[in-house]
């Protein structure tokens, strides 16, 4: 069985006196999409940058496909789209991909570039100058750039922040396609609904610590069943849809009159807000 695409253990990072990460453990398996959630300043971008080799860790162990982050071998296997990025405004979409093909040592040629532009639906503007593209188009181009050379690990920091709903749907479809190709993806995002839709696992980070982790359906599991009876509303914490018939039967057996039953699911948003304690950066 292959090892994790990204393995992080006890990762700490201090910027002078400021602690950005206080000891984070996280793994991303091949073909797995992990959503990294957290308020602004929680340390999400720092974690991603450490994995890319852009930021040096203060302590802890990080491995990208078994290699030291920042090593040529590790960089040869990953694709990265930063939250804040800019490409040379004077070159075209196709020229940018060509440049990154050469830097990555990709031998995909024109076919790879055409395929990547098609995936992000920019194939009709391949020769347009980047300076003439909208921010959303540039972000999609950034995704195509990150995919040059068929990386095994994709690190995406807010990849849909500038996209409209259609653009977000394109990216969702792309991420699902990449999962099918066994590409491991770490996705930083503030868009909880998007994370819930596409991610296999979610990690919530706050003040530099990982505070919750699990599959979205585990985290956003059923929270309670509320039953309106003649004597008032009875709340059954932790119960879900499956437990509802039993709860109702027990209440009826106990002589209660049932007027209304509601199953409440805690959404990922609720889990997130509870986990971060309403903190914002």
């Amino acid at each position: 069985m292959p090892g994790p695409a990204l393995a992080i253990a006890g990762l700490r990072k201090n910027y002078r006196q400021q602690q950005a990460l206080g000891g984070v453990d996280l793994e991303v398996a091949p073909g797995e999409i992990v959503g990294l959630l957290g308020p602004n300043g929680a340390g999400k971008s720092t974690l991603t940058k450490v994995a890319c080799g852009l930021v040096r860790p203060s302590a802890g162990r990080v491995e990208v496909l078994g290699r030291r982050p920042g090593s040529p071998q590790a960089r040869g296997e990953l694709g990265y789209l930063a939250e804040l990025f800019r490409f040379p405004s004077w070159c075209s979409a196709d020229e940018l991909l060509q440049l990154h093909q050469r830097l990555a040592g990709s031998e995909g040629g024109a076919a790879e570039r055409a395929e990547l532009l098609r995936l992000v639906q920019l194939d009709d503007v391949a020769s347009r100058r980047i300076g003439e593209m909208s921010k959303g188009m540039q972000q999609r181009l950034g995704l195509a750039q990150a995919l040059v050379g068929s990386p095994k690990l994709l690190l995406l920091d807010e990849p849909t922040s500038a996209l409209d709903p259609v653009g977000r749907r394109i990216v969702r479809g792309l991420l699902e396609e990449l999962r099918g190709r066994e590409v491991a993806i770490l996705l930083n995002s503030h868009l909880l609904s998007e994370v819930e839709l596409v991610c296999d696992r979610v990690a919530i980070i706050a003040r530099g610590f990982l505070i919750r982790s699990g599959a979205p359906e585990e985290l956003a599991g059923p929270a309670r069943v509320e039953v309106e009876t003649a004597t008032g509303i009875r709340v059954f914490e932790g119960a879900g849809r499956e437990e509802t018939p039993r709860i109702v039967a027990e209440l009826v057996a106990a002589g209660e009159e049932i007027y209304h039953v509601e199953v409440h699911h805690s959404s990922l948003e609720e889990v997130y807000l509870e986990a971060v304690g309403g903190q914002t950066g």
Binding site: L54, V55, R56, Q73, R75, L81, F87, A104
Partner: protein
């Protein structure tokens, strides 16, 4: 397959050149250089004409032709160094911290190229372009001076190479500054260092003229601390090193005289200095969080 460092460096150098062409940097430089050369040509023409006039009827203890030619070409050397320095600084402006702050650097750095290769390639691109530029302007000024007054320097190759090495050193210093300073601060610091070097060189000239050991020593130390100035002064010296008599003495004492010859020590030191600046830059860059 991960590209070799040499191939990666060639890609980045090519990118720098392509950027310069596409962003019309070279076009702007070309237009301004042509303007400078036209102005210089007019100046040289009238200077030689005036030189012939002031020599008439005088006892020729001073060769007006050589004096005018060397002074005008010394001025051209100064302007060439200045233009080359401007080009070197602009080609390296904000290439690390500035580009990192705008998000232009990170997509390239995460590629297998490696930070040291990237830095050396950016230096090589800037040094090659600004070095080639100063040599071309030098040759153009040489042709203009010859056409205007039939004068040519005592040594042709040495001063051109000294200028090229000088601007390479300025490019390296500017690159180092780009790692730790913001774009504006980088520009200010590098031009102030450039100005300080030239001022120290002039102090040495004055020290030579008035026979002041202290001033001469200050200039000498500055030439070693900022070798682009030492190379420039040596280049000026080489222009007139074979000019004898009072003309040679007066030229050496003038602002474009150059009192010091470039020994092999200075050239060796300039290369060592360049290597040291680039090594420091590579270490600082490798430790910098982006």
């Amino acid at each position: 397959m991960t590209p070799s460092p040499l191939r990666s460096a060639a890609i980045v150098i090519g990118l720098s050149i392509q950027e310069g062409i596409r962003r019309r940097v070279f076009l702007a430089v070309l237009v301004l250089t042509v303007a400078f050369l036209v102005l210089y040509g007019l100046g040289a023409h009238f200077a030689f004409k005036g030189a012939d006039a002031f020599a008439e009827g005088e006892t020729k203890i001073l060769d007006p032709h050589a004096f005018t030619g060397a002074t005008m070409f010394g001025l051209a050397m100064f302007a060439t160094l200045f233009l080359g320095a401007v080009l070197a600084v602009f080609l390296t402006l904000g290439v690390v911290r500035g580009d990192a702050e705008t998000g232009l650097l990170q997509p390239v750095v995460v590629r297998p190229i490696g930070r040291t290769t990237l830095l050396v390639a950016r230096f090589a691109g800037a040094a090659l372009l600004s070095g080639a530029y100063v040599i071309l302007v030098y040759l153009a000024a040489l042709g203009i001076t010859d056409a205007a007054g039939g004068w040519s320097p005592d040594h042709l190759v040495g001063p051109a190479l000294a200028l090229a090495l000088g601007v390479a050193i300025i490019a390296a210093l500017s690159l180092l500054a780009s790692i730790v300073l913001s774009v504006t601060a980088q520009g200010i610091v590098v031009f102030m260092v450039f100005g300080a070097g030239l001022t120290a060189g002039l102090l040495a000239q004055i020290g030579h003229a008035i026979n002041s050991d202290s001033l001469h020593e200050i200039g000498r130390i500055a030439s070693w601390a900022l070798p682009f100035e030492g190379l420039y002064a040596a280049g000026l010296h080489a222009l007139i090193s074979e000019t004898s008599g009072l003309t040679g003495v007066v030229l050496q004492l003038g602002p474009f005289g150059g009192s010091e010859a470039a020994g092999p020590e200075l050239v060796a030191w300039a290369f060592l200095y360049l290597a040291a600046v680039l090594s420091i830059a590579a270490v600082v860059f490798s430790r910098r969080d982006l």
